[in-house]
């Protein structure tokens, strides 16, 4: 391993321009990465972070600009070339073969051969050595399907190291990790840099940048804004630079008395599509005027619970009571009429009919009601007027997008269309499932504002989220779901990230 010298430049990207047709995704971006440095790349969704990294990793050729690696100007026109230059990328979505062992996954594509058979012994030794050296604690013989998400990510990191990478690109690495796993990841990054590796960290999570990064390059709408020393800036400073205006993080919320119980879920059981029981006697309740946060790691039964509450999944046992009336296993339409509205987990699959216009999407549950239809005939004037009003009220951009297909809007604005519709539906119970997933800071602020506003109007809100920060900042009460059951409950103001994290991982409270 080369001697660690923080003044050695390992990557210098100069004036990188990447155009797709008329659209400029990267507009003269500069980036300098030193040896042993953790360099964060911060930007909203669609700012051009991923494009820049894909240029570096040889996925897209840049329209103009130069890339230097270790002082030499290079043309990287294929990922293999990037790998040869010691650049490795850990993608946000893991690319692992589930039934294979860790070792088999790591050697995949470059299997060491011994005659005609694969020589895994040697590879296994090498992996063990790497794992120890960087404190990755990976068992080379475990099957991927048996190990946690955090461990899977470490396997991805090992895969890159095994191929000799000195420069690691980590794309949104914390997206599916628990708080403990995130802390572990940050430790691993420190081990890597101490050993002379350099890390490019793509993220829009400011907290992680503060925790791990030395420097941070901010990109906004494809343009280079600045490169700053992380130590000299606060989270608010960084957020402001990212979105181009001041952002408030704290959610304003007055204490208020709760009213009657709106939703009561009793001893709910169900199985997923494979027939595996995923809800094992789950009970919870939500009252008027409170936000109940359901904290938990993905895959502990949240999807099925929300599915049952919105009519898309059937319960095998148990009861759902809404305003004192049993509504178990009713159809989606009936549940809506009884008073449940929902910001769905997957906005493109469930929340919107993407080829429909914004105006059409805004009446998805109400198309057959006055004033939107009369005698089975759609009333375009009313449908459009409704859209115009909501586009204005909810600042859906671009302005005047009534007749644009919803699929052509950005993710944040698609979410605004759904929020506008569900908030305007104004039902007794609002279920929000990962309502800010993939959104940038500005849009998150917007969504949170409306959730709190609905709570203040004495609506009952069930917030299901994999983002613990979101749960903690919004909830009046937090239930923790693990393995299909509620395993603990805390008041919003008493919430402690580590205690919640332990419960989410199935440990004792």
């Amino acid at each position: 391993m080369s001697h660690l010298d923080p003044n050695t430049v390992v990557i210098r990207m100069t004036d990188i321009v990447k155009k797709f047709g008329d659209f400029t995704a990267n507009d003269h971006i500069n980036l300098t990465l030193h040896q042993g440095e953790v360099h964060a790349i911060l930007g909203e969704n669609g700012a051009g972070k991923s494009t820049l990294m894909n240029v570096l990793y040889g996925m897209y050729p840049p329209t103009s600009g130069t890339i230097e690696v270790n002082g030499k100007t290079v043309v990287i026109d294929h990922p293999q070339k990037a790998i040869d230059l010691g650049i490795g990328m850990v993608h946000q979505h893991f690319m692992l073969v589930q039934p294979f062992t860790v070792t088999e996954n790591i050697v995949l594509g470059m299997e060491p051969m011994k005659g005609l058979s694969v020589n895994l012994k040697e590879a296994r030794q090498k992996i063990l050595a790497l794992s120890e050296r960087y404190n990755l604690k990976v068992d080379p013989d475990a099957r991927i399907e048996d190990i946690s998400v955090g461990m899977q990510q470490r396997v991805e990191i090992l895969k890159v190291l095994y191929r000799g990478a000195n420069i690691l690109i980590l794309d949104e690495p914390s997206a599916s990790l628990t708080p403990q796993e995130i802390t572990e990841l940050m430790e691993i990054i420190k081990h890597l840099t101490a050993d002379g590796k350099s890390v490019l960290l793509i993220t829009h999570k400011l907290k992680e940048i503060k925790m791990a990064a030395d420097n941070c390059t901010i990109i906004r709408r494809g343009k280079y804004i600045d490169t700053v020393h992380v130590g000299e800036k606060t989270e608010d400073d960084l957020a402001g630079m990212m979105v181009g205006r001041e952002v408030s993080f704290s959610v304003e919320k007055q204490k208020q008395e709760t009213g009657d119980t709106v939703l009561q879920v009793k001893d709910l059981h169900t199985s997923d599509y494979r027939g595996v029981e995923v809800l094992k006697g789950l009970s919870l309740h939500v009252k008027q005027g409170e936000i109940v946060g359901l904290a938990g790691v993905d895959g502990n039964g949240q999807s099925e619970l929300v599915g049952i509450l919105t009519g898309l999944h059937k319960a095998s046992a148990g009861e759902v009571v809404l305003n004192g009336e049993a509504v178990t296993n009713l159809s989606p339409g009936a549940l809506f009429e009884k008073g449940i509205s929902n910001i769905p987990e997957d906005r493109q699959k469930h929340g919107l009919v993407l080829p429909f216009t914004v105006a059409e999407n805004l009446i998805l549950q109400n198309f057959s009601k006055t004033p939107f239809s009369k005698g089975g005939v759609l009333q375009n004037a009313a449908i459009r007027a409704n859209a115009t009003e909501q586009i204005e009220d909810f600042d859906i951009r671009p302005a005047g997008c009534e007749d644009r297909p919803a699929g052509t809007l950005s993710g944040g604005n698609q979410q605004k269309v759904i929020i506008a519709r569900e908030v305007t539906n104004d039902k007794d119970l609002l279920i929000a499932f990962n309502p800010t997933r993939g959104l940038d800071v500005g849009a998150i602020e917007f969504v949170h504002k409306y959730l709190v506003q609905q709570r203040n109007k004495m609506r009952a809100i069930l917030l299901v989220s994999f983002e613990l920060d979101e749960i903690m900042s919004l909830s009046d009460r937090i239930d923790v779901i693990f393995d299909g059951k509620i395993v603990g409950e805390v008041k919003g103001e008493d919430a402690d990230e580590y205690k919640l994290g332990l419960m989410m991982a199935g440990g004792a409270a």
């Binding site: 669609g46 989606p332 339409g333 699959k349 009919v353 993407l354 998805l364 198309f367």
Partner: protein, 350 residues
């Protein structure tokens, strides 16, 4: 935005038509026939006389109906490859009512049409029930139902009470009161001229209205675009599938009636499938499933069929028309692929 997409649709279609003719020309050259001569013959066979134009329309009428039928099913994401069978049972129902019920024309024609629509609807709805209740892919059962219709029709044709007396492999003629024949002055130019074309236009406008302007159309399109989002919004996609497939079947059934009550008058025993339903798929694809577009693409296909039938007089195999139509469809299909790729690239950039 919307304008841009539709205009580019028309652009790709137009381009595909040109390519279709170019490919046809190449094949003609290979077999040693002058494309210029063949296309001149085709063109004059289509346009040079009023009589020809009226025949184009006669040929186009059933194709507009089956085109509408297929286009309607596409809107809900169902592929009605069974328009062929629905056309046949529609024709059969109209034939039986036309032969055995004796009413004044003002009642007789609507009754025949109604019977045809009901028969087509039933034929398609059965496939719908199999899809919804048993999860059977509609393409499979539609194809089987095409053959059921085929043999049912041949069976009925040969029932003594239905069969034409004194030879001929066909049914009796329907009563004159059931015919859709146009007034004498038009029939003196082209004896097959009939009201079916106007009925087809009316159906196209009605279909357009249903799809675009009604709550039913909203639900059809929602299910067609995204079944999951439609379900989330409280729309029962199973119900919508049944409705959509029923209406689609009714349209094909009406096409069968229009053909029978117009130029047909009787049903002959089939040696093979006539292909009106399958040609409807082409019509719908060329029209990008737009109901009003189906009128024009139906006229185009009808004219090609009629004009193509004259090519044999100059020694050109009229299969060249099928090759041209096939090539057009091929390139329309490819244009979607191209557009998809372009679209993806733009998305990746965003």
């Amino acid at each position: 935005m919307k304008q841009k997409i539709t205009s580019s649709n028309a652009f790709y279609t137009f381009l595909s038509i040109i390519i279709g003719f170019v490919v046809g020309a190449v094949l003609l050259l290979i077999i040693g026939i002058s494309p210029a001569e063949a296309y001149a013959k085709l063109f004059s066979g289509v346009f040079s006389k009023l009589r020809y134009v009226l025949y184009d329309i006669v040929y186009a009428t059933p194709l507009i109906f089956t085109g509408l039928s297929v286009a309607f099913s596409f809107k809900t994401g169902v592929f009605n490859i069974g328009a062929e069978g629905q056309f046949v049972v529609g024709s059969l129902a109209a034939c039986l009512v036309g032969i055995f019920v004796d009413l004044p024309a003002i009642l007789h024609v609507p009754l025949c049409l109604l019977a045809a629509a009901a028969a087509g609807m039933l034929w398609s709805a059965m496939v719908g029930f199999l899809k919804v209740k048993r999860g059977i892919n509609e393409v499979l059962s539609y194809i089987m139902f095409n053959w059921l219709a085929f043999y049912l029709s041949n069976y009925v044709v040969n029932i003594p009470a239905v069969h034409k007396e004194g030879g001929g492999e066909a049914t009796k003629n329907v009563l004159d009161s059931a015919r859709l024949r146009a007034p004498q002055f038009l029939r003196s130019i082209c004896s097959d001229t009939n009201w079916g074309f106007l009925l087809a236009i009316a159906c196209a406008v009605l279909v357009w209205f249903i799809i675009k302007k009604t709550t039913l159309g909203y639900q059809l399109r929602a299910v067609g675009h995204s079944r999951t989002a439609a379900e989330y919004g409280g729309i029962s996609s199973n119900r919508i599938f049944i409705i959509s497939m029923s209406i689609s079947g009714a349209l094909a059934g009406l096409g069968g009636a229009a053909q029978l009550l117009g130029p047909g008058a009787r049903i002959s025993q089939f040696a093979g499938q006539e292909g009106f339903g399958f040609q409807g798929i082409t019509v719908a694809l060329i029209a990008s499933s737009h109901p009003v577009g189906c009128i024009f693409s139906g006229l185009f296909y009808g004219a090609m069929k009629y004009g193509g039938s004259k090519l044999t007089t100059i020694g050109v195999p009229n299969e060249v028309v099928n090759i041209i139509m096939g090539t057009i469809i091929f390139f329309i299909a490819i244009s979607h692929v191209f557009r998809h790729i372009l679209h993806k690239r733009k998305e990746a950039a965003a």
